[in-house]
């Protein structure tokens, strides 16, 4: 899986201008785009999903061109075949867990899933340990359960790539550690390539095979962390060092909560 991104966009707000000009390529199972708030990582992710239109550039996933300003290609979000995990999950509040997860499968005239769809949903809910919550509404779920529902909803369509927008920002610190592990398991189980954006160095240390660091709308550096695998004890010190480096270099606007309850991380 190869993700090629090369985009330019000028954003204006409150009389200030922000120029985004990023280019990177990643081929790993989990790539992390790291950057302090206001570095342009959110716009980059939205551009990949087709929720934001760049002024120019090119985006391709596995050779399939999603956006190319020179050739006038700009696939609509619905045609891109990407999964997207919103920061606060954006679960439909008026639909049950089952209806949320089956949403992508339903036609416009269908309110409820057919027996066939229901089987797929049931299997998926079992994998995400959500069995028994089929009829619950999002407001009745815990933070961790909400994230699992959002993952199930995004993965039911078997997307070519899963984009995750600050996936752990909405969770409390202890749950964050657990959900990072769950995300790694999900990646392993579904073999779906993931692109995560975050401002938390701990996410980089815990998840990244490649990290692309954005600063002020540009790629500041890209680091390959494959030499320091997460499950390998030898990887841990390297990852700890990377985390420290990111925290020190990009201290302003970066999550300081990275120091929380993470034994041996420093």
């Amino acid at each position: 899986m190869r993700i090629e991104v090369e985009i330019r966009k000028t954003l204006r707000a409150d009389g200030r201008e922000f120029h985004l000009d990023v280019a990177f390529t990643c081929e790993d199972d989990i790539s992390v785009v790291f950057g302090p708030s206001g570095s342009g990582k959110s716009v980059t992710l939205k551009a990949l999903a087709g929720l934001e239109r760049p002024d120019g550039g090119r985006i391709a996933v596995d050779g399939r061109v999603l956006f190319d300003s020179r050739n006038g290609i700009n696939l609509a979000a619905r045609e891109r075949g990407v999964g997207y995990l919103f920061q606060d999950y954006a679960l439909f509040p008026h639909l049950t867990v089952e209806q949320n997860v089956s949403f992508a499968l339903l036609h416009w005239w269908q309110r409820r899933p057919t027996a066939d769809m229901r089987r797929r949903v049931t299997d998926l809910l079992e994998i995400f340990e959500l069995t028994g919550l089929e009829r619950s509404y999002p407001a009745q779920l815990s933070g961790g359960q909400r994230q699992r529902v959002a993952l199930a909803r995004a993965l039911i369509q078997k997307p070519a790539i899963l984009l995750l927008d600050e996936p752990f920002a909405a969770l409390d610190p202890l749950l964050r550690i657990r959900m990072r592990q769950e995300l790694l398991n999900t990646q392993w189980l579904f073999k779906v390539p993931m692109l995560v954006i975050t401002h938390d160095p701990q996410d980089v240390a815990a998840l990244a095979e490649t990290v692309i660091v954005l600063r002020k709308g540009r790629v500041d550096r890209a680091l390959d962390l494959k030499g320091a695998p997460y499950r390998d004890p030898l990887g841990a010190p390297v990852r700890g060092a990377i985390r420290k480096l990111l925290l020190e270099t990009y201290g302003e606007g970066v999550s300081g909560e990275g120091t929380e309850a993470m034994p041996g991380a420093n």
């Binding site: 979000a77 619905r78 008026h94 416009w108 407001a139």
Partner: protein, 225 residues
């Protein structure tokens, strides 16, 4: 007092007129509100003001406009009569048009507020899940804005039920054909038939209270966001 003739006929006619008017005003109001709430284009504020105009204009002015447009010699009315042989003036369909116009701003305003209150993120989530705009609207935007829209439609219905001025000018006061409750009340008071007027007033009030209470129950929240 002949009960069916004097009460039931205007009551049923009023419900029929207000029902159709609410339906038309709701479809048009939600459509217009969706464009205004979701699209940015020049002259948006002028169109918004024009949509709200029937709320502030005197009903007689609206009635006059309607006669100019759908009257027998009107811009649209003359064409309608020549081509299809249809006359709207002095018919209950004419009353529906008048009531639709006065009910429209109430549904429209409520729908704009309700649609603007729907977080874009839910719509974006639906798009990323492969849904076309029509499905996004029908399955996400509309259900999330439903309560506000229904509230506006209720007000629109109540307004259409009480519509008097424009209806009188366009549809006239033909007992059994275009004489709605509010016109029948006026007619009864003018003719000094106080017992009929009393009864009609009570019936109108009871029907309106019943509608408001009933729809208030329908509007209880089912979920929280």
């Amino acid at each position: 007092m002949h009960f069916p003739q004097e009460v039931l006929i205007p009551l049923l006619l009023t419900l029929k007129v207000a029902g159709w008017a609410t339906l038309f005003a709701s479809v048009a109001g939600v459509g217009a509100a969706y464009l205004l709430a979701r699209r940015r284009f020049p002259g948006r504020d002028v169109i918004d003001a024009a949509m709200t105009l029937p709320l502030v204009l005197p009903p007689t002015v609206l009635g006059y406009y309607l006669i100019v447009v759908v009257g027998r010699r009107g811009l649209f009315g003359a064409w309608l009569e020549e081509t299809f042989g249809i006359t709207l003036i002095f018919t209950w369909q004419g009353a529906v048009i008048a009531s639709t116009i006065v009910a429209f701003p109430l549904v429209y305003k409520a729908a704009v507020t309700a649609l603007e209150g729907v977080e874009r993120q839910y719509e974006q989530a639906a798009r990323v899940l492969g849904k076309a705009e029509w499905t996004v609207f029908l399955r996400v935007t509309l259900p999330l804005a439903w309560r506000g829209i229904l509230g506006g439609a209720m007000l629109g219905f109540a307004r259409a039920m009480g519509e008097f001025g424009a209806t009188l000018m366009v549809a006239g006061n033909l007992p059994g054909r275009t004489q709605t409750l509010s016109i029948a009340i006026y007619d009864a008071v003018e003719a000094g038939r106080d017992n009929v007027a009393n009864f009609l007033v009570i019936v109108t009030s009871v029907v309106c209270i019943a509608i408001l209470v009933g729809s208030g129950r329908l509007l209880r929240p089912r979920y929280t966001t």
